[in-house]
């Protein structure tokens, strides 16, 4: 079993690249930084595929069930006996699947960036940060200890921060990076407390042991955590909810999503990698990792379900109104992650009932490919027109044929049109929802239609809408070099192909393969809805005919509210700028200067006053001194003679 040790190299190679590029890159390696990064990642990718092949087809399965293998465990920081942060490598279906996803998407982004970021002053730094991110993400995936997850969780957050603020002299980018970091940090506080709760009652931080202890209803740990309660909820609910809060922060679930749209200030390939395919699904991955424990607690799972469904719907509505193409994609990411979340939430553990779990992972898998494709396509478009706004685009299909086709494939995939990848995973999610919870099913169906609408709104606005731009200066650099086109083509092929993978054979909630099949009758409704939505989008946006404005006007307040992102940002701003700063920060700073320090100053002043007072006695007049002297003698005499006889 331990012949998986080579997996260690998968995260270590990007780490080595980061260290080398971070120290020497700026001065010595700026010309070959991109190639170096890409080469090391290529090696990692190949290793991941080797690992996947070995795990899924050679020795992962024992008695028809995929096993959890801990390939490495090293005690890194021991808090107390049995309570330690171990650096470990866990190998199970989802971690191997994520390995493949992260390395391949990251590789595509590395290649794409060779063209996209060419000529940037801090080219080497960019690749260093990309490698750091890849390392942290891979570390997160392979974590076998919940505190290890937290560590890499933070590292992922900081690499996201560094990459968003890559254009550091752009104030908007700096503000966005701060926002992203602080919001996720706030969520991580919940995660940390959740870890403390689970660790305290579970008596360990090892994920495997935690799951083992909390899933057997007779274990002392399970009994103690369910019997302890706070504010009416058991500690298990609290712990899981707080852990989910961390996941919700990273995965941009409502109401912690506000950082994601702003994070689009970073370079577009970065958005494709971090804010579409990998880091933002970390929350889903975390819930999946702890899934057996989640299934022990109905209320925590319900929170996951409803937060997921609300985010899916909420983001889809906003996405229909945005005009910045990257923001549309950001909201669509949030919406799709909402899908994955509620799919987990409605799932049960084991067998056919675990369909939601499998569907969620499947959607995560397919989404990674078509969403990164969408972002890279958007990157190509932005590279071409130097703008993020829809109004600056239009009619680009002739100028960028490859991008156009790739983008169209991705749009069809996300809209769930067969036979593209998104269709299969979305069908599974809808089936699971249909069986478990009809309300969720309704929301999911409506969101699916909305998704098709806004994606094709985007598509038509970029590639149709107007005639090709008249001025020809775009022609000169065309669609970009082959390094930018190649990833688009590969990802497009994936967006078509990965749906045909018999996913349920490999990844299920308990490791045992289940049979799924596409029910044609069931599929008619969602597909028909999507097609209708696409046709609607076509009629609005294929030509500029003003219909869309009329509809927007008809929706009135709702449209404005959605366009302003339902004022969530304003609420946060209000809380921070109008409440925390003036009512907590400033009073404390004031109190420190005036009350606490004032007290010390007052002590000093009192001392001064007393000394001035006493100084008066030292008049320098000999006769006064003589007076005191005699007075003292008189007092003493009286004392000695009459009182202390």
């Amino acid at each position: 079993m331990s012949n998986y040790l080579y997996i260690l190299w998968i995260p270590l190679l990007p780490l080595a690249t980061f260290v080398i590029l971070g120290i020497f890159g700026r001065k010595y390696l700026s010309s070959i930084a991109g190639l170096l990064g890409t080469a090391s990642l290529l090696t990692s990718t190949i290793l991941s595929f080797v690992a996947a092949k070995q795990y899924f087809f050679v020795d992962g399965k024992v008695n028809g069930v995929y096993q959890k293998i801990v390939a490495l465990k090293y005690t890194w920081l021991e808090f107390a006996p049995n309570m330690s942060i171990d650096l470990g490598i866990i190998i199970d279906p989802i971690s191997v699947m994520m390995l493949v996803v992260v390395t391949s998407v990251s590789l595509m982004v590395h290649v794409f960036s060779l063209g996209y970021m060419k000529g940037e002053e801090r080219f080497a730094t960019y690749y260093a940060f990309l490698s750091l991110f890849t390392f942290s993400m891979l570390g997160l995936i392979l974590s076998s200890n919940i505190f290890q997850v937290y560590m890499f969780w933070e590292l992922v957050g900081v690499s996201s921060f560094l990459l968003i603020s890559y254009y550091f002299n752009k104030p908007a980018a700096v503000a966005a990076s701060k926002k992203a970091f602080i919001v996720t940090r706030f969520a991580d506080l919940g995660f940390l407390i959740g870890i403390l709760i689970l660790g305290y009652y579970g008596g360990t931080l090892d994920i495997g042991l935690l799951i083992e202890r909390f899933t057997s209803v007779h274990s002392t740990q399970f009994l103690s955590i369910t019997s302890a309660s706070f504010l009416g909820a058991s500690m298990l609910t609290w712990g899981l909810t707080l852990v989910f809060m961390g996941g919700a922060g990273k995965s941009a679930m409502f109401p912690l999503h506000i950082w994601l749209p702003d994070a689009m200030e970073g370079p577009t390939p970065v958005s494709a990698l971090i804010h579409a395919a990998t880091m933002v699904v970390a929350g889903v991955y975390l819930v999946a990792r702890m899934f057996p424990v989640f299934t022990m607690d109905e209320s925590a799972l319900n929170i996951v379900t409803y937060v997921g469904a609300a985010s899916a719907l909420f983001a889809a509505i906003i996405a229909c109104t945005q005009t910045d193409i990257k923001r549309v994609l950001a909201y669509s990411t949030m919406s799709q992650i909402g899908y994955m979340m509620f799919a987990l939430g409605i799932s049960k553990n084991g067998g056919e009932n675990g369909l939601g779990y499998m569907a969620s992972m499947f959607h995560l898998f397919t989404h990674a490919f078509f969403k990164s494709l969408l972002f890279l396509g958007a990157g190509s478009v932005i590279h071409m027109v130097h703008s993020n706004e829809m109004k600056d685009m239009g009619g680009l299909r002739k100028l960028m044929p490859i991008t156009h086709i790739a983008f169209l494939i991705a749009c069809l995939a996300i809209a769930g049109i067969p036979p593209f990848a998104g269709f299969f995973s979305k069908e599974e999610i809808l089936t699971a929802a249909f069986h478990e919870n009809k309300i969720i099913y309704g929301i999911a169906l409506f969101t699916a239609a909305l998704t098709s609408f806004y994606m094709f709104r985007l598509y038509f606005n970029i590639f149709w809408s107007k005639d090709a731009p008249a001025d020809n200066h775009h022609e000169s650099h065309g669609e970009g070099p082959w390094v930018m086109k190649l990833p688009l083509l590969i990802l497009a092929a994936c967006a078509v192909g990965v749906g045909f993978i018999p996913f349920s054979q490999f990844i299920t909630s308990d490791g045992a393969p289940i049979e799924t099949h596409i029910d044609v009758v069931f599929s008619i409704v969602p597909v028909a809805l999507s097609v209708l939505a696409i046709l609607l989008a076509a009629s609005f946006y294929k030509n500029q005919n003003g219909k869309s404005d009329k509809v927007a006007a008809a929706f009135g307040g709702l449209y404005t509210a959605a366009h302003k992102k339902f004022y969530i940002d304003e609420v946060y701003l209000f809380i921070t700028k109008k409440i925390i700063f003036p009512f907590i920060g400033q009073p404390i700073a004031w109190a420190d200067k005036n009350i606490v320090d004032g007290f010390m100053q007052w002590l000093a002043k009192i001392t001064l006053k007393v000394s001035v007072l006493i100084k008066g006695l030292q008049s320098g007049k000999v006769q006064n001194y003589a007076m005191y002297f005699f007075g003292g003698i008189v007092v003493l005499s009286i004392l000695f003679i009459y009182i202390w006889k």
Partner: protein, 493 residues
């Protein structure tokens, strides 16, 4: 291995500095001396580990004991355990870095370097003392140089800051003295080892513990005795800030730890006050930092918040939390010294420390900016840097305490890491990132000595951050011993 070398070496360096002529000679002597200290500390570590590996499990190693003043039973009793050794290593690293960043100090350079070295001598003496009187003596030795360093070489309202700092620290040591003498009059010895063995009557502990603990608390910037920190740090020259935050505040934390170990019953019964004050310091310091506009004030206030973790760890009184407190001391020492070094480098170039007047420094001085960002990330507890290890250990330790109020205190302290992120990122976003002003565009990056100092400190931070098992290995036996001793007393009660 004679520990007295740790005192003699700085003393020799100080004397040589007085004899030297010219800045060049002085700084070379200073650097050589401090490097020798670093080497000595490293050698000490090596022989300490060798002794431990050879099975010597005595609480204190390299002990030696000489009568200093017989009539009052004052001994020159020295010896180190893992905790003291960690502090000594920290001190030696910061001394080297401090000397390196003051490489171009041309105003009264002889006196300046002399005082720096003297301060380090006081710190070493303090950490190796096993006798309360010697401990107190070296504490005082370390106070006076600070007053002069700030008063003469400082900036801004330096006289007032120096006065404030010296007076508050003196008041702190007066409290310490009352506490220590109170112990002495009831045990008739100053010897820590002896006192630990024979124990102190509970009533005496309860009366004198607050004096000694709060006295050291003043040094460790415990709320509400922290007000010397912001002014003192802001006015001090760079190296003095580094020494002040990196070494001198640690004297307080270390003293608090020793006092708590000496009087366990009192520590237990006053634990809730300690934890209350520490929690206030953590949260209050963090929020106060958020409103600061001067880089040095930002770091000074954040030091209050971070040192709160040290006191919190001590107050929670369990092995993990005390381990965390010790790691936090070392980590905060390195990190804050690095921060002050970076701020000093920025200030010496731009001549301003106001965040609003800076911007985009990453463009003009990539190295210094990177150092600043690293210090900031360490401060906000990023994994891979020492701050994470320290804070998480304190949290884990605090959380072990099942009392609801303590849990609440832990959660509140945990919330401070969010506030920390806010102020660090605000400062970084304004000063390091963003557009650069034209007058700062042509400034130069760090010189070799500044680079060396930063690299040295970062190495320390990374060693703890990446391989925390090393420092754990060093200090855990000592905390075990302390907990065992405390446990024995508490059980027998």
């Amino acid at each position: 291995m004679n520990l007295t070398l740790l005192i003699l070496l700085p003393l020799l360096t100080a004397v040589l500095i007085l004899l030297a002529k010219g800045l060049q000679q002085i700084r070379i002597i200073g650097l050589t001396g401090s490097l020798a200290q670093l080497g000595l500390a490293g050698w000490l570590l090596k022989s300490f580990l060798a002794e431990r590996a050879a099975g010597n499990s005595a609480a204190h190693l390299f002990e030696s004991n000489q009568t200093w003043f017989k009539a009052l039973n004052i001994q020159y009793h020295i010896g180190i355990d893992g905790i003291a050794l960690a502090m000594i290593l920290l001190t030696s690293v910061i001394v080297v870095a401090g000397i390196l960043v003051s490489w171009t100090m041309d105003k009264l350079s002889k006196e300046y370097f002399f005082l720096l070295v003297l301060l380090s001598m006081g710190a070493y003496g303090f950490f190796i003392s096993l006798d309360l009187f010697t401990l107190f003596f070296f504490l005082e030795v370390a106070v006076i140089p600070k007053f002069l360093l700030i008063g003469i070489w400082g900036s801004g309202d330096k006289t007032k800051s120096a006065m404030k700092l010296a007076l508050m620290l003196m008041a702190g040591s007066a409290l310490v003295m009352v506490g220590l003498f109170g112990v002495y009059y009831n045990t008739h010895t100053f010897d820590i080892v002896q006192i630990t063995q024979q124990g102190i009557p509970v009533a005496v502990q309860k009366f004198f513990f607050p004096f000694a603990f709060l006295g050291f608390g003043v040094f460790a910037a415990l709320f509400p005795f922290h007000t010397w920190v912001p002014d003192g740090h802001a006015s001090a020259p760079t190296a003095a800030s580094m020494f002040l935050a990196g070494i001198s505040m640690k004297l307080g934390g270390y003293g608090c730890l020793r006092i708590a170990a000496l009087m366990p019953e009192a520590a237990h019964s006053y634990a809730w006050i300690i934890i209350l004050l520490a929690t206030i310091a953590i949260i209050y310091g963090a929020f106060a930092t958020m409103m600061q506009t001067d880089l040095k004030y930002i770091n000074a206030y954040s030091s209050i918040s971070h040192c709160g973790f040290v006191i919190l760890g001590i107050g929670m009184l369990n092995k993990t939390s005390i381990n965390g407190a010790v790691i936090q001391m070392v980590s905060h020492g390195l990190m804050t010294a690095l921060f002050f070094a970076a701020i000093g480098m920025i200030y010496s170039r731009t001549h301003t420390r106001m965040v609003a007047q800076l911007g985009g420094l990453l463009k003009a001085m990539p190295f210094i900016s990177t150092v600043f960002v690293i210090a900031g990330l360490c401060s906000l507890g990023l994994p891979g840097f020492s701050g994470f290890v320290a804070e998480m250990t304190v949290f884990m330790g605090s959380w072990k305490n099942p009392d609801g109020a303590y849990r609440f205190a832990t959660i509140l302290s945990g919330a401070s890491i969010v506030v920390t992120a806010v102020y660090i990122l605000r400062a970084t976003g304004r000063a390091i990132m963003g557009p650069i002003s034209t007058e700062h565009e042509l400034l130069t990056d760090a010189t070799w000595n500044e680079k060396l100092a930063a690299v040295l400190l970062i190495t320390g931070i990374l060693i703890i951050g990446l391989a925390p098992f090393l420092i754990n290995h060093l200090i855990t036996p000592s905390t075990d011993a302390i907990m065992l001793q405390m446990g024995k007393i508490l059980v027998s009660k």
